[in-house]
């Protein structure tokens, strides 16, 4: 409840930022990217809430970006295209989720990594559709919403508010799930899958649902990104960064918490871009790596979900 209020308050403050910055395009772009990463980290956290640790969210981001770009270039309206990309990501994620039938824990994580690498490789090869290494350019810009002041919906400010809205939606979805039966099923399967199934809970449909929801949000971010940057390339949207960063950010911010992953994402990204980047231009990614290493070694409480889920022999 309290975190819900904090979220609303935070959203309100963030909504007032663009006018305060005088719509400075660079800072708006930086912040909207931070919000997209925060939404992806929240989506990653939603999946982790149900148990699986993913090393392959780039697959879903890329599916969303390519799905939306192709649909948009094919003549669909950008909004419809982003939605379609989201569905592609959800379907792809559910497909990856099928791996959970045979794989658990670290091996499921490796499986998601392999899927992401596979998709990236295929996107590079299948150039008739994806444009190969050069990617797809000329994606139309998002249309201006007629019923809102132009200054809020055009260009960088528009992207800013859309990314913020998407982040809000991702957090809202997670908050709803945590309070519902779905969240109870996710948490029970995460904590002790066998016990939960002995109580009549069938794991697979719930795991697939978690993958699909997480993939949906991640792919919507990908679709929005494609329409903001207006080009997609395999090495850009299937970049391993979209697999590594959400993991870093969510574990750093606190697994399974509502706001931790999003807050950590925004803080780490801004720290990295605004502080580390000017200081050590080539090395600024080191911050993420160090954050992840520190959290694994020194904050085992922040990794409560990681410490379980291993296989044990039960007497």
């Amino acid at each position: 409840m309290r975190s819900g209020l904090a979220a609303l308050l935070g959203m309100g403050v963030l909504a007032a930022v663009p006018p305060a910055l005088g719509f400075h395009p660079y800072y708006l772009f930086l912040l909207s990217t931070a919000f997209l990463l925060a939404a992806v980290a929240s989506a990653w956290n939603l999946l982790a809430y149900a148990g699986p640790i993913s090393f392959g969210h780039a697959a879903f981001f890329g599916l969303g970006a390519y799905g939306a770009a192709l649909a948009s270039l094919g003549g669909l309206s950008p909004w419809g295209a982003i939605a379609l990309g989201g569905l592609a990501g959800a379907a792809g994620a559910a497909g990856v989720g099928l791996l959970s039938i045979r794989l658990r824990g670290a091996y499921l994580a490796l499986g998601t990594l392999a899927c992401a690498e596979l998709l990236r490789g295929l996107a590079l090869i299948w150039s008739e559709v994806t444009g190969g290494g050069a990617g797809l350019a000329g994606i139309p810009a998002l249309p201006v919403l007629p019923w809102l002041p132009r200054v809020l919906t055009e260009g960088r400010a528009g992207a800013y508010y859309l990314a913020l809205a998407l982040l809000g939606a991702a957090l809202g979805l997670f908050a709803l799930i945590r309070r519902s039966r779905v969240g109870l099923a996710f948490a029970a399967l995460r904590e002790e899958e066998e016990r939960a199934s002995l109580l009549g809970l069938r794991p697979l449909p719930w795991t697939l649902l978690a993958f699909a929801l997480s993939g949906l949000v991640t792919a919507l971010c990908g679709g929005l990104y494609a329409h903001v940057v207006r080009v997609v390339e395999p090495d850009l949207v299937f970049s391993r960064h979209y697999s590594i960063l959400p993991l870093v950010m969510a574990t750093f911010g606190g697994l399974h918490t509502l706001l931790g992953p999003a807050a950590a994402a925004i803080a780490l990204y801004l720290l990295s871009e605004l502080v580390l980047h000017p200081l050590l231009p080539a090395l600024h990614q080191v911050g993420y790596a160090l954050a992840l290493i520190a959290v694994i070694l020194y904050l085992p409480g922040g990794l409560a979900g990681l410490r379980r889920g291993g296989r044990r022999a039960h007497p």
Binding site: I53, F55, L99, R102, L103, G105, A106, Y107, A109, L110, G111, L113, A114, C115, E117, L118, R120, G121, L122, L124, I125, R240, I244, L247, V248, T251, L280, A282, L283, Q285, V286, Y288, A289, L290, L292, I293, I296, L297, P300, L303, L306, R307, R308, G309, G310, R311
Partner: protein
């Protein structure tokens, strides 16, 4: 290369996702020494292996401290280390593609009607020699006994007076040394670049699954098989297919051996 990966897994139940990046690091170190000092590749092998010794100590120290379940936490931790290494390598070598283009290696070796590239022959001979030596060391020495005992049951090994920490540390030193040397060999045959490590890691995992952890002779056979599949893929469909095929093999192998990598113990 997979040997190092599978030894670490055996001894510390840690999956080292930065393995390929360490190999690439070895390649870059080798390249720099070769370019700066003109060392011959044969001399570069031990030098690059030694150069990774500090990294081995760091890896050992970090992986000893990962919480349970070891496999998953070590995976996350080394994912971070992989990112760290890639960033550092990109900062130092600016993402350039490097090749140890020693002309003596490019020459072909005439064996009857067979013309062989000397670099490849050197790589093959070195790999065989390493596997042979390692096999001898693991089966014939006290150190080998300690390492094998540690990977089967560290607590029992400690009870019978084996220095488990020492065995672990020396395994890391050896495994990362192998990676460094492999990196040099790799750099004589292929261009190295900072992002090449992931594919190498995936290959090491595939090999470990195929061969079963710590089985030296089967690692050799699996390595040959993987090399052949890779070569066929590249010549048949083009180099772009290499990455997806490796990823596909990893998926297939994981699903086929879902009991887990650590199931087969060393010997």
């Amino acid at each position: 290369m997979a040997l190092g990966f599978s030894m670490i897994l055996g001894v510390s139940r840690s999956l080292n996702l930065a393995h390929g990046d360490l190999v690439v690091l070895g390649g870059y170190v080798g390249y720099s020494l070769w370019a700066a000092a003109g060392l011959s590749p044969v001399l570069l092998l031990p030098v690059a292996a030694l150069a990774l010794a500090p990294a081995a100590l760091v890896w050992d120290w970090l992986l000893k401290r990962t919480p349970e379940p070891k496999e998953l936490s070590s995976l996350v931790l080394t994912f971070g280390l992989s990112l760290l290494l890639q960033t550092v390598m990109r900062a130092i070598w600016r993402g350039e593609y490097r090749l140890i283009a020693e002309s003596s290696l490019g020459a072909s070796l005439q064996l009857g009607t067979l013309a062989l590239n000397r670099g490849r022959v050197l790589a093959a001979v070195a790999a065989l020699a390493v596997v042979g030596l390692l096999w001898l060391a693991l089966t014939r020495t006290r150190w080998g006994q300690a390492v094998r005992a540690t990977s089967i049951d560290p607590q029992a090994a400690a009870l019978v007076g084996i220095n488990v920490d020492g065995a672990r540390r020396s395994t890391f030193l050896l495994a990362l040394g192998l990676s460094g040397a492999t990196g040099v060999l790799f750099a004589t045959l292929h261009y190295v670049h900072p992002a090449a490590g992931v594919e190498l890691t995936l290959m090491a995992i595939v090999l470990s699954i195929w061969a079963g952890v710590g089985h030296l002779r089967s690692v050799l056979a699996a390595g040959l098989l993987l090399g052949m599949i890779e070569a066929l893929t590249v010549t048949g469909w083009g180099p772009g297919w290499r990455e997806p095929v490796v990823a596909l093999m990893l998926l297939g192998s994981l699903l086929a051996r879902s009991g887990g990598l650590a199931r087969g113990h060393a010997h």
